[in-house]
């Protein structure tokens, strides 16, 4: 009997080990690529190595990172939120508009408005079972229209009136902008929420198998509404930060931000089909896109549009790799 048991056990162990490797690559692949890209960039561009440049990369990545954070939660539940790009712009305009009343309104008004849109998204998706793609596409169009109306077709630009809010956007601590510190805190909270709370587990469960989750007693609808509200809130916060940074509510940026966020999340190893993903991966995905942009700026004579070509290529490679890894795992 013992002789019989030995080969069985080793076979299982190797399959477990290969499982772990597959798992690790899927989760940390973006991080590995990021490290490689940073090393190459540091070797090739002397200016890239500077501490200042790191600060530049981080401050540029702060708003997209917030949007990608919300998107990570949404995608893990198996959904998608297309409205965040529009909400980001709307949030910026509203924040600049509200800044004449002071610091707190500049920060909270966009949160309230975008959070409300998130509630509408979430309720429609969770209770009427409409497709997230359609619901949030409608919200994208609606938020864009609202932004246009507020800015008189883009002809009016609201300047940030509150000095405190303006210096929050431009000031820095240890050479790193205040917004980056805020984003870092929000990310830590997000990580704890996703990986260490019951709510976080229910996010994974809903995305992994909605039917099973509901039979296991998970509050599926409440979970869905919550992730869309979070996504809206974070887009609003990103808009507010951007307004503080730029000193005005800019109406032309932000188109396609939702797609950049989805790209960053997927590059970070989160499955577009839901049920698996990490926030650490999303950070790596956001930074990867940011570093590529920065590198292209360093080269100087390459039009920045090529950044999108390269990001697109990365995305394609990652999705192919993910599909392959999932297949590999099924076989073992």
């Amino acid at each position: 009997m013992t002789a019989l048991a030995v080969p069985v056990e080793t076979e299982e162990r190797t399959s477990e080990r290969s499982d772990r490797i597959v798992d690790l690559v899927q989760r940390q692949g973006a991080l590995a690529v990021l490290v490689v890209v940073v090393i190459i960039a540091a070797a090739a561009f002397p200016n890239f190595r500077g501490y200042d440049n790191a600060g530049t990369i981080l401050i540029a990545a702060a708003p997209p990172a917030l949007i990608a954070l919300g998107m990570t939660f949404v995608i893990i539940t198996g959904g998608i939120d297309l409205s965040v790009g529009s909400l980001y712009v709307l949030g910026g305009v509203v924040s600049a508009y509200a800044s004449k009343w002071g610091f707190l309104p500049a920060l909270l008004v966009p949160l309230a408005l975008c959070g409300l849109v998130g509630v509408v998204n979430g309720v429609l998706i969770a209770y009427t079972r409409m497709a997230p793609f359609i619901v949030t596409l409608a919200a994208l169009l609606g938020a864009r229209g609202l932004m246009r109306a507020l800015s008189n077709e883009g002809s009016t630009t609201y300047l940030v009136g509150d000095d405190g809010f303006r210096s929050f956007g431009t000031g820095s601590f240890l050479g790193i902008g205040y917004p980056v510190w805020l984003v870092a805190v929000v990310f830590v909270l997000g990580m704890v929420l996703l990986s260490r709370t019951r709510f976080g587990r229910s996010v994974y469960a809903v995305g992994g198998s909605e039917d099973a989750a509901s039979l296991m007693g998970v509050a599926v609808r409440r979970t869905k509404v919550t992730v869309y509200v979070m996504s809206g809130l974070l887009a609003g916060l990103a808009g507010g930060i951007n307004a503080a940074k730029l000193g005005s509510g800019v109406t032309v940026l932000g188109t396609g931000m939702e797609l950049d966020a989805i790209a960053a999340v997927v590059i970070g190893g989160t499955l577009l089909t839901g049920g698996a993903g990490t926030i650490a991966g999303t950070i790596a995905g956001v930074l990867l896109l940011g570093v590529i942009q920065n590198m292209i700026n360093q080269v100087g004579n390459v039009p920045s549009s090529y950044q999108q070509v390269i990001s697109g290529a990365f995305l394609a490679v990652v999705v192919v790799a993910q599909t392959y890894l999932v297949k590999l795992r099924r076989r073992t």
Binding site: A3, R198, R201, Y204, D211, G217
Partner: protein, 512 residues
């Protein structure tokens, strides 16, 4: 005093009265069998008990008080746990997270205590014979082990009632023993158990009481030991007892002589696949049903899939009608005349969201297309032919397959296979999860198809079905052929002996 009781409940769906004045009482510490054909109302009753549906009339009482469960969550909180027929856990999540989802141990900050959870999960699962790393994704484990996790999850809460819907359908015999051990333990602790199964042996082994449903009504309830087996079947089917006796438990008529000297329509020689299949050889003549016997994991499904081109093969030859099938792929296999009915009907067989017509047409499209176009009339004709021939019960060819009963779904799948005009039919568990009446019909169909000259390979975990349905049985173990039963030797006893003997002889070389 019953712990869970429904009195005179009804449930109406559009066009169907699923339950009609049903009363059912579960005593504490009782294992109560709930039996009936598919469509008799078992699932609906379970869903009423667990808060998935609300009754249209009648009363639900739990622990001697009127109760109303708005959601499965409510029922679970109240102490009613359910294990579903198909494992209802999240495959991408780890075993431990599945086990503890919604009730993870938390530390002083309200955060999930991962370490404690993993430790407790391991401790709990050892008692169910599951010893793998609980951090592994659940989906990487065998189906039986997943079912054990579902069982552990259902029982570990402070359950007063545990409802089990076909819990053994994906378990190996050893795991069934573990399950029965758990049931006996629950029984001793005074927990009420509702046990739904099609397997009569199991019912008589583990259950105290029985309630039989037919067409949404209770036709019998009482002590199981006092109910003769044949009486139970006749009550379930609404058929005369003597008819059941005469026709046996299965729908198979008997031997198909076939042409004993005819050249085989399928010949498999030395089929091997890394780790799973070792040098498998057998042949099927036209008009013959060859059974593949063995335990779960013996390589029966893999053999069938390999012949159908859906499982990687390292060596071996597959011949159909004397012609070698080179580099088998599903497309080439179908073209050669091989039709495979996969084990998992829902995942690999039917397309639940499409109509009967569309499901059947899927198979014939490639063959019937002229310059990429297919005539609707010709499809209608084929669909009509098979719906009549296979006696598919539906409102019409446009009904969604997902809305049909399991038996009719299986028939649609068979129709689709037959529409490719195969020479060999490979059936993997053709009657799993379908009710007794439909089972007999599918079995009779297999007979008819063989009589028409098809070569049939039959895989079944049901020994009776294998023995009564097959003319010869090839017995597998650990991916190799270990015996063959022919002629009068095709009996349940001989089958079990061969499997058991094989188990002994295959261990010997390791001991030496």
């Amino acid at each position: 005093m019953p712990i869970l009781e429904v009195t005179d409940v009804s449930k109406v769906f559009p066009g169907v009265r699923a339950l009609d004045g049903v009363s059912f009482a579960l005593q504490p510490g009782e294992v109560h069998a709930l039996v009936g054909e598919n469509g008799a109302g078992k699932s609906t009753l379970i869903k009423l008990l667990t808060g998935v549906y609300q009754p249209d009339g009648g009363e639900l009482r739990y622990r001697d008080e009127p109760a109303r469960f708005a959601t499965p969550m409510d029922a679970q909180r109240a102490g009613i746990s359910t294990i579903y027929q198909e494992v209802n856990l999240v495959p991408l999540m780890s075993v431990a997270h599945n086990l503890f989802l919604g009730r993870e141990p938390r530390n002083a900050f309200g955060l999930v205590d991962e370490r404690r959870m993993i430790r407790e999960a391991s401790e709990i699962l050892v008692r169910y014979g599951v010893t793998t790393d609980v951090r592994r994704p659940l989906g990487t484990m065998a189906l039986g082990a997943q079912q054990m996790v579902a069982l552990a999850r259902a029982v570990m809460v402070d359950a007063k009632v545990v409802i089990m819907d076909e819990p053994t359908s994906s378990l190996e015999p050893r795991e069934v023993e573990t399950l029965f051990g758990v049931i006996r333990d629950l029984h001793a602790r005074g927990i009420g158990i509702v046990y739904v199964s099609h397997r009569l042996d199991e019912l008589y082994q583990i259950c105290d009481a029985v309630t039989i449903l037919r067409d949404g009504k209770v036709v019998h309830t009482g002590k199981l030991a006092e109910l003769e087996r044949i009486k139970l079947v006749s009550l379930m089917l609404g058929r005369d007892m003597s008819a059941v006796r005469r026709e046996g438990f299965t729908g198979f008529a008997g031997d198909h002589t076939g042409a004993a000297d005819a050249p085989p329509v399928l010949r498999v020689t030395g089929l091997s696949s890394r780790h799973r299949l070792h040098d498998i050889s057998f042949a099927v003549r036209p008009g013959e049903v060859v059974g593949l016997g063995g335990l779960l994991g013996a390589g029966r499904s893999e053999t069938i899939k390999a012949i159908g081109g859906a499982y990687p093969v390292d060596a071996g030859e597959i011949e159909v009608g004397g012609r070698t099938l080179k580099n088998p792929t599903p497309v080439r296999a179908v073209q050669a005349g091989i039709a495979v009915q996969p084990e998992d009907r829902k995942a690999e067989g039917i397309v639940a969201g499409l109509s009967i017509r569309e499901n059947i047409a899927l198979a014939v499209l490639p063959r019937m297309a002229r310059w990429g176009l297919v005539s609707d009339r010709r499809i209608d004709k084929i669909v009509d032919t098979y719906m009549t021939r296979l006696r598919i019960k539906a409102s019409g060819p446009d009904q969604r397959v997902g809305d049909l009963s399991g038996g009719n779904q299986q028939k649609v799948l068979l129709a689709r296979l037959l529409a490719t005009q195969p020479r060999v039919l490979l059936l993997d568990e053709p009657t799993r999860g379908i009710d007794v009446g439909a089972k007999a019909e599918v079995q009779a169909l297999i007979d008819e198809l063989a009589a028409d000259g098809l070569g049939v390979v039959l895989v079944s975990s049901d020994a009776e079905e294998l023995v009564e349905g097959a003319d010869r049985v090839v017995v597998l173990r650990d991916g190799a052929v270990v015996g063959e039963l022919t002629g009068t030797n095709v009996t349940t006893e001989a089958l079990l002996e061969t499997i058991a003997a094989a188990a002994v002889s295959s261990e010997e070389p390791h001991d030496n």
